[in-house]
Amino acid sequence: MKKIVNDPNEVVQEMILGMVAAHGDRLKQVPDSTVLARVQSPVKGKVGLVSGGGSGHEPSHAGYVGKGMLDAAVCGSVFTSPTPDQVLEGIKAADSGSGVLLIIKNYTGDVMNFEMAAELAEIEGVTVDKVVVNDDVAVEDSTFTTGRRGIAGTVFVHKIAGAKAESGASLSEVKAAAEKAISNVRSMGMALTSCTIPAAGKPGFEIGENEMEVGMGIHGEPGIARTEIQSADEIASVLVEKILDDGVHTSGDEVAVMINGLGSTPLMELYILNLKVNGLLKEKGLSIYKTFVGEYMTAIDMAGCSVSVLKLDEELKELLDSPSDTLGFRI
């Protein structure tokens, strides 16, 4: 395993301490927890925003803690949802009395742990509501199964909900903005390599030297198909087509685009991909309001990418444009 680590079982704790050591002016660790919160939190009069999940997706989620986005991020073990007691710590750190919104990525573990935390928080008198992000069109949206996964589109939800909360909106208004972002964003990813959980010490799955996985999830869950490696242009076409097929974005819409790297894919490749994505979206009659290219929601050290497309209206444009001052996302 080629990693810069000490004890593989302590990576999350050491990462948290390393983040506070680097960014103590922005972030604080809630004592004895795996929660990173805004230094100023709880912010008086503001709805609190809490997200999190398994670690290994950095800068998600602690990189989005700060003005205009989250109040607290709960860091689970690598690829493992944090436990209810930790999420509860996050909720308490974020709550200034105006209620707390949980932004959950749609995975069985995350949903269960965050819901249990919400129940515990309600017992302690905190008003908590939640939204579940499920932007990954690589997975069928069926009520019979667990439904679509939450991937990089989650970052747009943090941004939109964060801006709304910062404006002084109520919990239900913030939730409504987050729900709008969720229903307007669709994403899909692909991977060229596997990724290695430090404590596992070896790659999570095998993939051939000439293969790629279309529809890969951010924990290495497979998606649609294992194919031969395709060109950047072909990859762009596959992802964009599947995203637009979902029917959320139609000709004439304004959209924001995110080209997200999964960990080992150089910015150069993401920009090459963007060139084609940009062209395809324009061909479909969409007008691109803003494009974000970089690592926003990673899968440890996986090579690959995802594309997210968020349909905008006047409210969402305003919220997307309002200032955010976090490590991972600055407007």
Binding site: F79, T80, T83, V139, A199, A200, F205, P222
Partner: protein, 210 residues
Amino acid sequence: MMGLTNEHLAKWLEKTNAKIQENKTFLTNLDQAIGDGDHGINMSRGFDEAVKKISSTEYKTSSDLLKDWAMTLLSKVGGASGPLYGTALLKFSMSMKDKEEVDYSSLTAGIEEGLNGLIQRGQAQEGHKTMVDVWSPVVTFLKEQPAFNPEGFKEIAKEAMEKTKDMKAIKGRAAYLKERSIGHLDPGSVSSYYLFSSLAEVIEEEGVGL
């Protein structure tokens, strides 16, 4: 002596933990095949902590012991299996609230309550390739038998665990694999098998009258 004492319950936990530690990599490999590769890591972390907690605490009632077991898993395992095992054991603990002794019928009721908690929390049904596929036949067997039958119990749990291999996952992370999930054991079912086989072994080895 009749029924499971707190000492027996602690032995059950320790034996389960021993199996989990021994098979940590195996469980992780199973989860790498059809999940995200952390089940062994999660279970090993949580059960180690549970052993530490329970072995260093005096308990008046079995309900209290089971509750600490449950709460430790809940706060240390994480992922899907943490709240599931936590909820199941918490329900078990609650069903033991006013019981003096863990006799056969209260053990059966406790595990059934656990199963109900599992289903309520995870919304999986039998056949969905989750740990429910082990818990459910185990409860049916307990209810059919007049007294605890260690060999039969272990056999049922093992068969149930093995059957998950041919199932197509509907719930949990393996569901993303659809057809490709067939041919692999469900990791949570294997860890549940360790839980139940340990119970049978403790009952046998300790000569618990049930």
